[in-house]
Amino acid sequence: MKDKEFKQAHLLGIEHLSPDDIETILDTAEAFIEVSTRDVKKVPALKGKTVVNLFFEDSTRTRSSFEIAAKRLSADLINFSASVSSLKKGETLRDTVLTLEAMNPHIIVIRHAASGSPYYLTTFARSAIVNAGDGFHEHPTQALLDALTMRQKFGRLRGLKVAIIGDILHSRVARSNIILHRKLGNEVSLIGPPSLVPGEFARMGPKVYYDIRKGVEGAHAVMMLRVQAERGAKNYFPSIREYRNRFAITREIFSLANRNAILMHPGPINRDVEIDTTMADAEESVILQQVTNGIAVRMAVLYLLKGERNETLH
């Protein structure tokens, strides 16, 4: 069997990946799942490589997931978070990254509130850059772990219908998922109040619904998004109660989906806001499986990028 060539130098978004790249990442992730089931959860693939977690936004789960992924591949890892960094002292993003690069890392994983900041890093940094969420733009590893979870359940990644419900406007998870499933030719429906699901999203290919029942009908994957209060989501609808009445997933609404459907959520979940508490714990809920798959997908991404330093740039 010939090795599949993964030619991406960075992971900035799903946008830059071909369907073959997506399959290669998921196949690699599938092979890494076994490592996390061993007594000794470590392989030496990235021994001697350094990964920097550069997080300018609060994040526990994504940061920890990348951290565990790097460590299970035997990479050295530095966590650099904005709250304790020199950014507070007035350093620019460019200077921060150049300072970190002087320590010779191979891969920089960045989360930043500014859309496009991972791309900006590639214009001057020598490391491989991984986007762990940039503003309202993309969160590629989340979409990849979602795809892996779907592939495990349905045995395929084509001919699926994916319903995404909630704050699409502010969601990089939604954007990465929309792009991924449009690339694979899957049907995507977006559901939420008009203020959070502007009609322009239809231009990316999905169908927009304001009635959750219509949007969820026949879906293989029902993906709930968190109501992001910290991004002012509450200013987009009259009250949480009204939102819950119209857009929360309940057993009754879920029963309209495909009979093998799975319920997904990128977390953290707000019980009894966007997700009925009994549904969060239901058999169809794969929320915790998504977390486990997240580690495998991030291991795959770190492994495939490898972060061979491009010395010719400097």
Partner: protein, 183 residues
Amino acid sequence: MDEKVKAKIMDEKKMKRTILRMAMEILERNRDIENLALIGIQRKGVFVARRIQQMIKEMEGGEVPLGVLDITMFRDDLHRQEFQPTVKKTEIDFSVEDKDIILIDDVLFTGRTIRAAMDSIFELGRPATLQLAVFIDRGHRELPIAADFKGKYLPTSRRERVNVMLGELDEQDQVLIMEPKGF
């Protein structure tokens, strides 16, 4: 690189006899079949291992556990590759602790794959013994590694390639020596 067939070394019948002999030798040297386990190295070693497992079953009636090992993560040349080699699955459903493990591959060449496999297995536990069975030993070792069970010793030159073809993957069972075109 384009290559052509230099010689056909074995056909289906011969291969079957060789696998049978290897299975017998493994049983002969490992009296306690209960403690025996096979581990095939991805990819062709797995098929050789399955055949040995089948032969043992036919002779002894019992099923010896069989695991699948991918050594990609333990390769010593990962940092030299232009693209990262494809990682395949490792599936070992039994504990290797205190077992007599037969590590199985199709071709033994430099010994580097076996070195990686040994490192990988010891991450999983401490076997009582670790023995090596290879279908073809083609020489040119770069490490102090030798096979305990050998299907055939086949002296080759470095520019040649030994192709163990198996019905599970290829059109038929045969062993070919390939050489670059133009020689």
